[in-house]
């Protein structure tokens, strides 16, 4: 089922939690709502589910207006941030709930319910927990049961609110892959909320970047990462160094307030001075997985910044120690003219490869 959101707004009191948002999610898409805390992600998801009513705007499923339809009629699967499993029911009863509350005519038989529940438990790889209570499961297991419960009603849209928010890093990583695979298998239009840009970039087909109740950019992970619409999207989607005033090359500066940005891995480090590079002092070096992060102090402007090298590059340049002098090249610095979005200007100097 495709989802269209047309100029939807929702305010709590006077506070606009979602402000004039328009968005289309095609059938079978795997979309991420990405944004900082309080940016209105949950509210937008709840609006789609019908758990909140918009003050303005329309919500269409497959081109049909669903704005005034009840939660029940929308037939969406919703996974809550805290799972919201029924504490007093066993896992089996939790998953069976959506089938058992159907009107008698469309309610499957006991046998059918039993089969369906075990089929779903198998899908989430938790068949052996059927007789347990939610309190007896781990966070990751509860998460998967919540998903199985939502899938039991065969929804055409699956909405997940921070599905991995409460889990530790390793379980999170496993579940990300698993959910991606599950989506490929079932191909249900899925929207998930996250404030973790890595999670969004890794999992989603489409990323919707939100801030202050509005959408900053919609696009594929490559698009939003490589071609960010504005400084907010750029800063939110990865590690970033921000410069102001004299630290920005003259030809990039629009006015006094202009901010220049460069990602750590875009800073080119060398031991010899090039005409475009600035002398910098090494403050700290540490290795993170396959990359090496170098904290530097720019000697011409006193800015503290972070550069990142692959371990391979680091080997070429040789071991760095605190206090050492290097030359850093900021040719790939960008600025955003937020009055005219979608126009990132890149410093046009030639990037000298090492």
């Amino acid at each position: 089922m495709s989802i269209s959101i047309n100029s939807v707004s929702k305010a709590f009191g006077l506070y606009p939690a979602v402000n004039n948002v328009s968005l289309t999610i095609p059938k079978g898409d795997f979309a991420a709502l990405l944004g900082p805390s309080g940016s209105g992600k949950t509210t937008l998801l709840r609006l789609i589910a019908g758990l909140e009513n918009p003050n303005q705007g329309r919500i269409l499923f497959n081109g049909i207006d669903y704005t005034d339809k009840s939660v029940k009629e929308r037939k969406v699967g919703f996974v809550f941030q805290q799972y919201a499993l029924f504490k007093h029911m066993t896992i089996f009863e939790n998953v069976a709930f959506g089938l058992k509350v159907r009107p008698r005519k469309s309610r499957p038989s006991k046998q059918q319910i039993h089969e369906k529940v075990f089929e779903l438990l198998k899908l989430v790889q938790l068949e052996n927990t059927a007789a347990r209570y939610p309190a007896q499961l781990s966070g990751g297991q509860r998460q998967r049961i919540a998903l199985a419960r939502a899938l039991a009603v065969e929804p055409e849209v699956l909405l997940l609110d921070e599905p991995f928010g409460a889990l530790d890093a390793k379980v999170r990583q496993e579940l990300r892959l698993w959910l991606r695979e599950l989506h490929q298998k079932l191909n249900i239009t899925t929207v998930f909320v996250t404030h973790d840009q890595e999670e969004a970039l890794e999992m989603a087909d489409t990323i919707v970047v939100m801030n202050h109740g509005q959408i900053e950019q919609i696009g594929s992970p490559e698009k939003v990462y490589n071609d960010p619409a504005n400084s907010f999207v750029y800063s939110f989607l990865g590690r970033v160094n921000e410069f102001r005033g004299d630290s920005i090359p003259q030809e990039l500066r629009l006015n006094e307030e202009t901010a220049g940005y460069i990602r750590p891995h875009e800073i080119v480090l060398s031991r010899t001075a090039l005409d475009t590079s600035s002398p910098s002092e090494v403050i700290h070096v540490h290795t993170v997985g396959s990359a090496v992060r170098v904290e530097l102090k720019r000697l011409d402007t006193d800015d503290i910044l972070e550069a990142e090298l692959s371990t391979e590059k680091y080997r070429q340049i040789g071991p760095l120690i605190k206090g050492e002098m290097l030359y850093a090249d900021f040719s790939r610095m960008v600025i955003f003219d937020d009055d005219r979005p979608n126009q990132a200007k890149v410093s046009n100097k030639i990037v000298t490869a090492l």
């Binding site: 029940k72 809550f80 919201a84 029924f86 959506g98 509350v101 939502a150 039991a152």
Partner: protein, 281 residues
């Protein structure tokens, strides 16, 4: 070394003595003010033999008081249960203006003397009261009749169920209900399958306390009942009348019923408490 050991000994001895003194004081207090009177009730009731005991309970006026007390409880407890669940649900699960005022209003029956509660109903529905002439014209009798007793009892026992449920419902929030909603459940299904099972022990606890008070209420009922023997006398009122007539055996026999009710309530209460704690772990 020696000094230290002595100090230790002293240090241990004093708290130990303190402990026993405190326990002794508590036991004496409970004994004098609770156990002895309770035993006295049963002793007085049975002093002249078990036959007289049963006779004074089956005598028409006593029997009618027992029936009336049961009737009153049978009407007011279910009403207050229903009303309590609705009020607690409304307050805990929805946001609206004046919520705090409503919570305060619910506590009024606890704060106000029952006699005053009874008087309010007399002032409203009595023949000199605000609605008195209207009621008389339509031949409706509330004060000095059963409806008045029911009203007074409902008023006095109203907070028990709500007060018990409010914190439970507030703690649980609405997420489970919302999950049920997205799974296609309707309002009734959500109430029966999700909300009620989550509050059942608290609800039972509230109902037990509500019932105990409904059967035992004296002050408010005394004001509105008119003490008409065989008609508007509840068990507590009956006890008082018999006592005032120096009919001690009968008075204590009836009182023993109320005492038994109290003991039974405590037993149920402990079972429910034990069950709900077990559930939480």
């Amino acid at each position: 070394m020696y000094v230290k050991a002595a100090a230790d000994k002293k240090g241990n001895l004093v708290p130990l003595m303190r402990k026993w003194v405190l326990i002794l004081i508590s036991l004496t207090f409970v004994g004098v003010f609770i156990l002895v009177p309770l035993a006295a009730v049963f002793f007085e009731a049975l002093k002249k033999g078990i036959e007289l005991y049963f006779l004074s309970l089956t005598e028409p006026d006593a029997w009618s008081a027992i029936k009336l007390t049961l009737t009153i409880a049978a009407i007011s407890v279910p009403l207050n249960t229903l009303f309590g669940v609705i009020a607690a649900w409304g307050i805990a699960k929805f946001e609206f203006k004046g919520k705090n005022i409503l919570i305060t209003l619910i506590d009024i029956p606890f704060a106000v003397s029952p006699v005053i509660a009874g008087l309010v109903f007399v002032l409203l529905f009595g023949s000199q009261g605000l609605l008195g002439p209207f009621l008389e014209a339509h031949n409706v009798k509330i004060i000095f009749a059963i409806p008045g007793i029911v009203l007074a009892t409902i008023f006095v026992t109203f907070p028990f169920v709500v007060r018990e449920l409010l914190p439970i419902m507030e703690e649980q929030g609405t997420e489970e209900e919302q999950a049920a909603l997205t799974l296609g459940a309707g309002g009734w299904q959500i109430f029966w399958r999700v909300t009620l099972p989550n509050i059942k022990w608290g609800l039972l606890y509230g109902v037990i306390l509500c019932n105990a008070r409904a059967m035992g209420e004296f002050g408010a009922v005394s004001v509105v009942s008119g003490h008409i023997r065989g008609l508007t006398n509840t068990l507590p009122l009956h006890v008082e009348i018999l006592y005032n007539e120096y009919n001690f055996t009968a008075a204590f026999a009836s009182a023993s019923l109320l005492a038994l009710l109290a003991l039974f309530t405590l037993l149920l209460k402990s079972i429910v408490e034990w069950k709900s704690i077990k559930k939480r772990h």
